[in-house]
Each structure stands twice: as structure tokens, then as C-alpha cells.
């Protein structure tokens, strides 16, 4: 990640736009402070005690075997939701991403309409946060694992589709032109040109999304769908901070492990 060449800096216009940005940022931040209701006191009456209790439990989580078994089960359920959700995301993201890249259209007009339509659908899918999808699905079909899987899969499908379409568009054009000139149809160009060139980056990004999926799946538990988030919520309601941190440490551990796996995969796939 090199910075831009120094030649582009120091122009008067660039400086002006930077001043504008600085002013806008400071102004917006100051305005947002007005949105806080400062009149009734920021802290809860026993808030500071709660801070001490919460942080005090940070390094002495409850490590009884029974609770650890529960945490392991919750972690497995979280992993299941993440992986199953990613499957749905792939089922949405791959076809829509291919269409949104406009690379399989036969005509110019077809490409423009396909790109616009697929992009609009993808934008809608990812505009809504996975937990909001989860609330909606729980209201619609009840507390079933399907609600969790769909809630995770739909917004992730929207993100995967968008990134896939960009990766498919950004491949070097020369090999594609060579294929076209030797008489390949757009489908063949896609299958034997675009896809193989974009695939390493697509796999790499998918593994990155698995990482995020674990975190999101843990949170999904909050609406009552089980997993680590659900256990954290129950422990919080019991004010059992040491149990809260047991589950949170398990979550952090799982996230770190999947992080390591995915970053190893991505390092090997990097060009």
C-alpha cells in the first residue's frame, strides 16, 4: 500500500478540499454531540460500580467443567450458523455477482440492464444488518435455525456478490480479447478467462468473510437463536460477569483461530 506519488499533492485544489473535509468532519461531530441528552446525567446511579465489577471479572472467568462444556456446545452452534450462512451467501453471491459483473451478457444493452438490476438487488440485501434480518425472520417463521441461516446468508450474499462482481470486472483484459479473437463466446470467455483469473481473490475474500461470519453468528444468538451470544445474554441477565467473560473469551479464541486459518489461506493466495 504505497501512498500516491508526491506530484499529486500540494495542489491548491487538494488543499482546499482537505480544509473542507476537516471543517465538515468537525462540524458534524459537534452537531452530533448536541443529539445526546446530557441533562439527566450520563452515568447510571450504580454505573461506576458496574464498570468495576465487569472489568474485575475480565481475568477471572468461570472455568468450571460444566460451563466449559456449555461454552463448547455454544461455540459449535455458532460455527454451524456461520458456515451454513456462508453457504446461503455463496448461493446468492455467486450467480448475482456474475450477473452484476456484466460479463455473460450478449449485448451492450443487456449488460447495462443486468448490471443495474443485479446491483440493486445486492445493495438491498446488504443494506439491512444481519441482526435486523434475524428479527424479521424470527417474526416471520419463528425460532428456527433457518431464521439464523437466512439472516446471515442474505446480507453476506449481498456483500459477496458485490465484491465478486468487482473482482470479475477487474481482471486483465488482454487474455480475454485473445480468447474473443479466437472465436470464443462470452460464456467461454467467462469460463476459461475471467473466472480462473479472478478465482484466487474470490476464494481469499470468501475466507475473510468466514472470519466475519463467526462474529456475526455469535451475535445472532441474541434474538434467541442459541450460540455464544445467547449464552452471553443469559449470563448478563443473571449479572454473572465471570460467566459472561468465559463465553466472551471462548468467542475471542474462536475468532482468533479462524482469523489465523483465513489469513494463512489468504497469504498463500496473494499474487
Amino acid at each position: 500500500m504505497r501512498s500516491e506519488p508526491p506530484a499529486s499533492r500540494g495542489r491548491p485544489r487538494a488543499i482546499e478540499s482537505r480544509r473542507a473535509i476537516t471543517l465538515i468532519l468537525i462540524g458534524a461531530f459537534a452537531l452530533s454531540l448536541l443529539g445526546v441528552d446530557w441533562s439527566e446525567g450520563v452515568f447510571r446511579p450504580r454505573g461506576l460500580i458496574a464498570i468495576v465489577e465487569t472489568l474485575g471479572a475480565l481475568f477471572r472467568p468461570d472455568l468450571s467443567p460444566e460451563l466449559l462444556r456449555k461454552a463448547a456446545a455454544a461455540a459449535w452452534q455458532t460455527l454451524v450458523y456461520a458456515v451454513a450462512g456462508l453457504t446461503v451467501a455463496l448461493l446468492i453471491g455467486v450467480p448475482l455477482g456474475v450477473i452484476a459483473s456484466g460479463s455473460i451478457a450478449r449485448s451492450r444493452l443487456g449488460a447495462v440492464t443486468q448490471i443495474a438490476a443485479a446491483r440493486a438487488v445486492l445493495a438491498f440485501f446488504r443494506a439491512i444488518h444481519e441482526l435486523v434480518w434475524a428479527l424479521l425472520f424470527v417474526a416471520a417463521i419463528g425460532l428456527s435455525p433457518m431464521a439464523a441461516v437466512l439472516a446471515l446468508g442474505i446480507p453476506y450474499g449481498g456483500i459477496l456478490g458485490r465484491i465478486y462482481s468487482e473482482l470479475l470486472q477487474d481482471v486483465p483484459q488482454a487474455p480475454l480479447d485473445a480468447l474473443r479473437r479466437s472465436g470464443a463466446s462470452e460464456w467461454r470467455v467467462f469460463l476459461f478467462g475471467r473466472l480462473p483469473m479472478a478465482l484466487p481473490d474470490m476464494v481469499s475474500y470468501t475466507f475473510y468473510r468466514l472470519e466475519c461470519g463467526i462474529r456475526s453468528a455469535a451475535v445472532l444468538g441474541w434474538v434467541g437463536l442459541g450460540g455464544l451470544g445467547f449464552q452471553v445474554q443469559i449470563a448478563l441477565e443473571d449479572l454473572a460477569y465471570s460467566r459472561v467473560w468465559t463465553f466472551l473469551w471462548v468467542l475471542v479464541g474462536m475468532v482468533v483461530l479462524v482469523d489465523l486459518w483465513s489469513s494463512q489461506v489468504r497469504r498463500r493466495l496473494a499474487p
Binding site: 500500500m1 504505497r2 501512498s3 508526491p6 499533492r9 478540499s17 473535509i21 458534524a28 461531530f29 452537531l31 452530533s32 443529539g35 445526546v36 439527566e40 446525567g41 452515568f43 447510571r44 454505573g47 461506576l48 464498570i51 465487569t54 454451524v80 450458523y81 458456515v83 451454513a84 453457504t87 443494506a127 439491512i128 441482526l131 435486523v132 428479527l135 417474526a139 416471520a140 417463521i141 419463528g142 428456527s144 435455525p145 433457518m146 441461516v149 473482482l167 477487474d170 486483465p172 480462473p196 483469473m197 479472478a198 484466487p200 476464494v203 456475526s216 451475535v219 441474541w222 451470544g229 445474554q233 448478563l236 466472551l248 475471542v252 494463512q264 489461506v265 498463500r268 496473494a270 499474487p271
Partner: protein, 291 residues
């Protein structure tokens, strides 16, 4: 991150063998099969199986509820007063997102230099000292801790401490994004061209001057870009932290769902989508300005 053509020129010519990557993809497939098997057979859920006709019909009738089918009175999404009321909440939600992005940005700006290896212990450090390396480790640990706990869980902890409103939600969002922004910005500094900094150093500038006149100006445009990208994520998440932190659209959304006021749910969703769309547009414009 574009794939080089050489990487995929002749996939057939290589013998198929188990590399780390192909093994990982294989492991992923095994995980997918295990997960779906577990979901389908491993649990006893009180409700119906999935893909059943009943699920589909319930989903369909829910859509009808959202549209206000079979209810007397005007649906909330056609009611002007309800629009204005939800608009006030949307404004509070927007303030929450800006506040969150602002706090995260200030926190990350103050610390990200200390998390960059080249500034603290590499070629730009004035001297090698274990204290500076320890600083690097501490700041990085804070980043990792703050970003690996999701926003919602931070919000659940913070509502015990702060009175309900947009502040605990904004702080929860800020803590999570502080870790992300800090890590990304430190990586920007580590990837910078260090020649201007070294030129300043050789002409007698001190560590602080090198940071202020060579490193910071080069890293800031990237930082601003990341900040706006994070803002787009933050606005989507405001609704979620609002569910527990009682600020903005989130709380109202949860209440409307649990009271079965489905047309209000529709109205709040419309405002939410408008916010997301608006922030995406503003953020894209600002990123173009910052470039």
C-alpha cells in the same frame, strides 16, 4: 489485489496435489456438509422443519402483515404524524452514527502511530528501546480486544453503565470501530514510502517533526477513506445497538415488533433504508473529495 494472469495460466498442467489452500477449501466443504447435517438432524426444535409449506405460508402472511393487510385504520407508513415521529428517531440515529465515527476516529488518530512497527521499532524509530516495543504491543492488544468483541455485546455491557439513549450505543460502536480503524491505519503507516521521512530525519528533524510533517500527511487521506467506509458500516449497525441501548430507531423497532405493530415496522425499515442509502451517497462523495 488483481490476480496476475500467470497465476492461473495453465491450471491443468500442474498436478493435482493437496496444498494448504486446496486442503482448506476441502475442509470448508466438509464443514459445510457437517453444519447442514447438524442443522437438519442434530437439533430438536419445537417448531416445524424447514423448507416446509408451513414456513413458506407463515413468511407470506408476515409480508402481508408488514403491508398492513386486514387491519383497520391507516397503516403507519401512510400516516404523516408517524413519519415525522420516526424521522426524529432517524435523526437521533444519524447523530449516533456520527458520534460513534467521531469518537472512534479521535481514539484511532491518537494511537495509531504507536501501533505502526516501522515508527516504533523499525527504520523510523529514533532509538531501539524495549519500552517502545512494549507500547506497540499494548496498543495492538487493545485494538485486538476492542474489535473482536462485536458492537452488540459492547452495547449490552455499556447499558449497565450509562443511562439509556444514543450515548451508550454510540460508545459501543466507537469501541469496536476504534480497533478496526486503528489496525487499518497502522497498516497504512507500515506500508508508506519512508523516503520523505528519512530525508527529513537526515536534515535534522526530530521524531515528532518527522511524524507531523512526513508520516501523518501521507497517511491521512487513506485514514479518511477508511473512516467513511466504516461510517457506512456503522449506520447499518446503529439499529442493532439501538435495540439494547434504547437510542434511535432500534428501540422503537424492537417495541413495534413485539407489539405486533407491523405497519410501524415497515415505516421504521423505510427510514432505516433511507439513512443507509443517504450515508452511502454522502460517504462516496466525501471519499472522492478526500482523494
Amino acid at each position: 489485489m488483481s490476480a496476475t494472469p500467470t497465476a492461473a495460466q495453465t491450471p491443468e498442467s500442474r498436478p493435482l496435489r493437496l496444498t494448504f489452500v486446496s486442503g482448506s477449501v476441502l475442509a470448508m466443504f466438509v464443514l459445510i456438509i457437517c453444519s447442514w447435517t447438524y442443522i437438519a438432524f442434530g437439533q430438536s426444535w419445537p417448531s416445524h422443519g424447514f423448507f416446509s409449506g408451513e414456513t413458506a405460508s407463515r413468511a407470506w402472511s408476515f409480508l402481508g402483515d408488514l403491508a398492513g393487510k386486514g387491519r383497520e385504520g391507516t397503516p403507519a407508513y401512510l400516516d404523516g404524524a408517524a413519519w415525522a415521529e420516526a424521522g426524529r428517531l432517524a435523526l437521533a440515529t444519524l447523530a449516533m452514527s456520527v458520534l460513534a465515527a467521531g469518537i472512534a476516529a479521535v481514539g484511532a488518530l491518537l494511537t495509531f502511530m504507536f501501533a505502526a512497527r516501522n515508527v516504533m521499532s523499525g527504520e523510523l524509530a529514533p532509538y531501539r528501546s524495549p519500552v517502545w516495543v512494549a507500547w506497540l504491543g499494548i496498543v495492538r492488544l487493545f485494538y485486538a480486544l476492542s474489535r473482536s468483541v462485536p458492537e452488540l455485546i459492547w452495547a449490552m455491557l455499556l447499558v449497565f453503565i450509562f443511562s439509556p439513549g444514543i450515548l451508550p450505543g454510540a460508545l459501543a460502536l466507537a469501541i469496536h470501530n476504534f480497533g478496526i480503524l486503528g489496525k487499518l491505519s497502522a497498516e497504512v503507516v507500515e506500508g508508506l514510502d519512508t523516503r520523505p521521512a528519512r530525508a527529513l530525519r537526515t536534515s535534522g528533524a526530530g521524531w515528532f517533526q518527522v511524524i507531523a510533517y512526513a508520516i501523518l500527511p501521507a497517511a491521512l487521506p487513506r485514514f479518511i477513506t477508511y473512516l467513511f467506509y466504516r461510517w457506512e458500516v456503522i449506520i447499518r449497525t446503529t439499529l442493532v445497538v439501538g435495540l439494547v441501548a434504547a437510542g434511535g430507531l432500534g428501540m422503537e423497532f424492537r417495541l413495534a415488533l413485539s407489539h405486533f405493530h407491523y405497519t410501524t415496522v415497515t415505516l421504521l425499515l423505510i427510514w432505516y433504508l433511507l439513512l443507509v442509502l443517504g450515508v452511502d451517497i454522502v460517504s462516496a462523495a466525501m471519499r472522492r473529495l478526500a482523494r
